[in-house]
């Protein structure tokens, strides 16, 4: 079983990490890059498959050279055998369709073709949720999205997954698909290790993983557009159907209430706040 996991670096949106300029625009250069939070679910799913079914895991990303650290972070999460970074100025500023073509080509360029490709559901910066499905479309393999649990029957060469469906009512579907397949993992994905042997394997792998991540560059391959035989007119900004024409800070909400300022150390002030809540206190 060869598992490929896709990941991406995104600005760290945690409080205190985000920088804005004085117009209220996000300053990407000053905001640190971390692994896309939703990708952790994809990594958990890949790790679960590896623990139960064995095999290898490759981690692949597209982005600037700084994304190497994101791959290292990913390697720490999942026992990755090798890391791939598609990195080239020509690939920069790509929208989802140009990214999907580039990533799909990277996957096709792997020596060992994958049995499963994993991606997380949308990135914290672009938030489109398009790149996974479009990459699967390019690879021309079955696509299963919003997956919350996954089982592989290696002998039959099939997967069984549960997936979330939205609409006016929420539903859960059980689907089956042949391998190779492309799995987009929902943030709510849970992996469980019921058998003791799996739990042990998981533990061993975590320990080895930490050691490997120290020397991650020994396992890293970087490809540019020429390595992948990609025409610069079809990737990056030049190959992207969409552009961002404007970014507006979210307008400030108009003032509608006159707030009473309360100092938390002032009992009188706090008393008035508490008085709003006490009528709703739980009974004994």
């Amino acid at each position: 079983m060869h598992n490929v996991v896709l990941t991406k670096g995104v600005p760290d949106f945690r409080e205190g990490q985000v920088s804005f300029d004085e117009e209220g625009h996000l300053e990407r250069g000053k905001t640190p890059t971390v692994m896309n939070p939703n990708d952790r679910a994809a990594l958990r799913a890949a790790l679960g498959t590896r623990v139960r079914n064995g095999g290898t895991v490759s981690l692949l990303s597209m982005g600037p050279p700084g994304y190497k650290e994101v791959l290292q972070e990913g390697m720490r999460e999942v026992y990755a055998d090798d890391l791939y970074l598609l990195s080239d100025r020509e690939m920069g500023a790509a929208d989802t369709w140009a990214t999907a073509m580039t990533v799909a080509t990277g996957i096709q360029n792997l020596e060992d073709p994958p049995d499963l490709v994993f991606a997380g559901f949308k990135t914290a910066d672009g938030e489109t949720g398009h790149t996974g499905p479009q990459t699967a479309w390019c690879l021309d393999i079955p696509l299963v999205t919003h997956v919350v649990s996954l089982e592989i029957d290696e002998e039959a060469g099939r997967l069984r997954a549960k997936r979330l469906v939205e609409g006016d009512i929420e539903e859960i579907e059980t689907v089956e698909a042949p391998l190779p397949s492309f799995v987009v993992v929902d943030p709510e994905f849970e992996s469980t290790y019921r058998r003791a042997a799996h739990r042990l394997e998981h533990k061993d792998m975590r320990a080895q993983t930490r050691r490997r991540a120290e020397e991650f560059e020994d396992h890293l391959t970087v490809w540019d557009h020429a390595d992948l035989n990609l025409d610069p007119d079809y990737i990056g900004l030049d190959g992207s159907p969409t552009i961002v024409s404007g970014v507006d800070p979210i307008p400030k909400a108009p003032s509608e209430r006159e707030a009473t300022a309360v100092d938390p150390d002032d009992p009188d002030g706090m008393e008035s706040v508490v008085a709003e809540l006490t009528p709703y206190a739980a009974g004994d």
Partner: protein, 555 residues
């Protein structure tokens, strides 16, 4: 007489439209219309701000003498648009450097310089097609990317296509919301452009795919479609990525340059592909939108909350083919979406490039963004049953079972909602625990979250992790609540959050930042750290009085 009646529009559409209105009296009339109509506070603010701006602008600002430090970047962007003299622009650039030295302001001036200089050089030049073999002789040809590109160059495009998603044989709400929006957009479009290039009005086309959809065609027409194209087949009862995408694209290409065998000519369609496509931003709808637009070699914006159509000046050389030159693209769908985890609104455009069309221009729409229109049972529409063979190989993913989930977490209908925001960032797990403590001390309360908490990469300990998810999100893309008391702890108060809670009777904000926006729509503003304030409130609610230590401090 005003040109724009604000009550006909969503706020996201009004923003850009109103920028073209320079007459303060007209704006005042719009304000009155809004007040006597829908009376939406954010719309009124928008109009009032514009009035203020128009009146300020009364005297023309002279770019050569204006104090740039008093202008916002947006003002500067507007100012330089009318300046064609690069000497003046360079002099402005120097003044900005010496003044506030804002990167974004300098970029605006620089890009104007580039565009003025570029347009002199590039004038009259025709773009010449250079075959990729010649342009990139270092690569092997055909290059890997070309295997996926099956698009049109110089094609004909018409109409707005709306994918109407169904569930259990019924249209879901967002499908009707999209039809209403598409109807308004195309009515305006036909007014503004006089229909297509030959003067025929362009249509709203609804697409239905499933095992039981033929019965829905009347409902779709009543909600605004001029034409319904449907395909019904027993195997399509549940959404499947591959067959649904193949069917939608086959419909979209029918009668055009890339039509499949047997669909080269159809009596209901003579253009190559749709001009616009709109999909619901549901799990399945969003997936379908990405696949359809990829297969049609075009682009899209996801999770939009505002759409409008107008011409766009584009200076991006990837689109114009000529660095420094601006080109006007007509009839462009402007797609507005909350971005960067709700920090900003982005406007996304899908624009052709030389020798490669990017049509249809696609969008997916957040459910609840638009109103469901009043159905008109007398509306006429054409119903087309699309026929095509379904390939066995498209059905390699099978659904073996499906089940309805309980309706997640309902935050509405509680006495109190305790909501947490990014202020928990220093100790996210402890923050959730403190919120839950207060919830438990109350009889009928629920825990809510701002979008920021859900999209931040916090690591939560296992026992609180299950509380963190979109099912607890309050705001524009989450739930709308109106409890008796709303406690907003560590929430800065973005406008998208406000729309989810500002109908609450009493709003108590807890925030360390005295300038936090939420102050403007709170009844109490406790300036302090939620990690200290929440436990005090919890203890006070439990005991029926303030913690002893605090009460004694009063003596």
């Amino acid at each position: 007489m005003v040109e724009i009646d604000p009550t006909d529009h969503d706020i996201a559409e009004l923003g850009p439209k109103i920028k073209d209105v320079d007459d303060a009296d007209e704006l005042r009339e719009m304000l009155e219309l809004e007040e006597s109509g829908e009376d939406r506070a954010p719309v009124k603010t928008l109009v009032e701000d514009r009035i203020e701006k128009v009146e300020d602008d009364g005297e023309a600002v002279d770019p050569e003498s204006v104090d740039l430090s008093e202008q916002t970047v947006a003002d500067i962007a507007n100012l330089v648009r009318d300046v064609d003299d690069t000497a003046v622009l360079r002099e402005m650039l120097d003044r900005e450097r010496e003044g506030k030295d804002r990167k974004t302001a300098k970029e605006q001036i620089e890009s104007r310089i580039e565009s003025v200089e570029g347009s002199d050089e590039a004038e009259g030049e025709q773009l010449e097609y250079v075959p990729p073999e010649e342009k990139h002789s270092d690569l092997d040809h055909p290059t890997n990317d070309k295997q996926w590109v099956e698009g049109v160059d110089g094609g004909t495009y018409r109409d707005m296509w709306v994918y109407c998603e169904t569930q259990d044989g019924e249209l879901i709400d967002v499908s009707l919301e999209m039809l209403g929006k598409a109807r308004r957009l195309m009515d305006d479009y036909n007014d503004q452009y006089g229909g297509d290039e030959t003067g025929d009005p362009e249509d709203v086309v609804a697409v239905l795919i499933g095992d039981d959809v033929a019965d829905l065609t009347d409902e779709v027409v009543a909600h605004g479609a001029d034409r319904v194209v449907y395909l019904e087949n027993d195997r399509l009862g549940r959404f499947r990525h591959r067959p649904y995408t193949e069917i939608f694209c086959d419909m979209a290409r029918a009668g055009g340059q890339l039509a499949a065998e047997g669909r080269e000519s159809v009596d209901w369609k003579e253009y190559d592909e749709p001009r616009y496509t709109v999909f619901p931003a549901t799990n399945n709808g969003r997936d379908l939108s990405a696949l359809v637009q990829g297969e049609l070699d075009s682009g899209l914006a996801s999770d939009c909350s505002g759409l409008y159509i107008e011409d766009a000046m584009i200076s991006n050389p990837a689109k114009t083919g000529k660095p420094g030159d601006s080109e006007e693209f007509e009839r462009v769908l402007h797609m507005k979406r909350p971005d960067f985890s709700g920090f900003e609104y982005s406007t996304i455009l899908c624009i052709d490039k030389p020798f490669r069309d990017f049509h249809p221009q696609g969008a997916s729409v957040i459910p609840g963004s638009f109103e469901i229109p009043e159905p008109d049972p007398d509306r006429d529409g054409e119903v087309v049953e699309h026929e095509m063979p379904l390939d066995e190989a498209w059905f390699d993913v099978t659904v073996t079972d499906h089940d309805t989930l309980d309706t997640g977490v309902d935050l509405t209908g509680h006495d109190v909602v305790v909501a947490l925001g990014r202020g928990i960032g220093d100790a996210p797990t402890a923050g959730i625990e403190l919120g839950l403590d207060l919830v438990e001390a109350l009889d009928d309360a629920a825990l809510g979250l701002s979008r920021g908490v859900i999209t931040s990469s916090y690591n939560f300990a296992g026992h609180v992790e299950s509380y963190v998810g979109e099912q607890r999100q309050i705001g524009e893309s989450g739930q709308v609540v109106e409890p008796d008391v709303y406690v907003a702890a560590g929430i800065s108060g973005a406008i998208q959050h406000k729309v989810g809670m500002d109908e609450s009777d009493t709003i108590v904000a807890v925030n360390t930042d005295p300038e936090a926006d939420i102050r403007d729509f709170s009844d109490y503003f406790v300036e302090g750290d939620l990690f200290e304030v929440l436990p005090r409130l919890t203890e006070a609610v439990e005991r029926g009085e303030l913690p002893a230590a605090l009460a004694e401090a009063d003596d």
